[in-house]
Subunit: 245 residues, 2 copies
């Protein structure tokens, strides 16, 4: 269902001085420490970078395409996903502003990337990215750190899919999203992605996602102002769910 691949390129050429490295993996949870570092170094790559805008559901790159660029999300949300032959879709992760896409070391993208919302990204050529990562030891260490954190997040998701029920998966998902977007109890948590996206990320159907949300709502664990915003009232209950069994 995801769409065409259009590109609006704005050459943002500025001679900077250092390389800013970020791994081209699936979804780089580019948190404070490493994100800061990598983001900082990536600035050096501005002369080799391009700013691109994508509409909702637009394809950024397709699985199997040569991995010629590393992307950094500036605004909006991106999903990293794979389409099975039979039409099934698996969303490996959602990518938030500041995080990197495609920083892994592979010749062809193992996953597709699509815009969940209208999104702006900075694209760095892989050549310059690799030059940056191989130049400075500190930058290389940050790449390793980012890869490690991405691996840990992926393994955590593996545990979620392997051991948890529908409600528990939803709780885990919401807690991680709230954590990544710095939303706490009582505040509005933005669900930029649709129910189907959540379902394909958690290995459930859209109906089950709806029912799980309804169940948590009925249990007063969360409030649903509208379908794209949630208020997490009871973080303890959510944590109990995501931790337990």
């Amino acid at each position: 269902m995801p769409m065409t691949l259009s590109v609006a390129r704005e050459q943002t050429q500025r001679p900077s001085m250092t390389h800013f490295v970020q791994p081209t993996g699936i979804s780089a949870s580019d948190e404070s420490p490493a994100s800061t570092s990598l983001g900082f170094h990536l600035r050096q790559l501005q002369p080799f970078s391009t700013r691109q805008h994508f509409d909702r559901n637009e394809t950024i790159f397709l699985e199997g395409e040569p991995a010629k660029r590393v992307y950094r999300v500036i605004s909006g949300m991106v999903r990293v996903c794979r389409h099975a032959p039979n039409g099934a879709r698996h969303i490996a992760d959602f990518v938030l502003p500041g995080e990197l896409i495609g920083f892994g070391e592979f010749a062809e993208h193992p996953y597709s990337a699509e815009a969940v919302t209208p999104a702006t990204l900075t694209a760095y050529t892989r050549t310059s990215f690799e030059r940056l990562t191989s130049s400075t030891p500190a930058v290389r260490a940050q790449l390793v750190s980012l890869l490690t954190r991405t691996l840990l997040a992926t393994q955590q998701q593996l545990f979620v899919l392997g051991c948890q029920t529908a409600k528990q998966r939803l709780a885990s998902f919401l807690l991680r999203l709230a954590d990544r977007t710095d939303v706490t109890a009582g505040e509005r948590l933005d669900l930029a992605m649709g129910r189907l996206d959540i379902a394909d990320h958690l290995g459930m159907t859209i109906e089950t996602v709806c029912r799980a949300i309804a169940a948590l709502r009925d249990a007063r664990v969360l409030t649903v102002p509208n379908s794209h915003q949630l208020i997490l009232n009871d973080l303890r209950a959510l944590r109990a769910l995501s931790t337990a069994q």
Copy 2:
């Protein structure tokens, strides 16, 4: 259930010349190209290495322990797993001879490691391992490569757990195991791990694993000489299963 942590150390001190680096991740699919490289470089670390033997079900290290060593499996099989508070267990991956454990960049092991069979491992101090990885650019690149491959394997498993049915999961598992152990159609595939291990790895119950094996056996896709060996008769059917849906 997994056991105590005993250690039989045989100091294997030999002054080698180069550092042999391997990432301390969950399970390092240390395939030919990178494995060769990393294995080669790790030889340099022999002066800082220890050979240890573990009995079946013995704990090599526990989740949460400080990650002071990087291990390389010499013989036997190891499982990398996590124990949930309620007793549930999740096996992130099995580690085969030649592969590394604990090569990720973290202060504490995010997972436990336990011997599936009696196993011999070489332990390298993290200090020397990191010295090796930071010294040579080539070695560092191999670490990045290993991390990337581990990440890809983990994401593949994520897809398996997120989108596939019991029979499909089993097919995917068997194909990967056969591939990693260089077993082809008609040959005996060794299942060193028990049914429960497979179940905890695939997010199923032991009964469902048994039934899935029985179903494939009844469909003549595989033969079951005994419970610890399989013969994959019809790779096409297995591939169709693991690919489809």
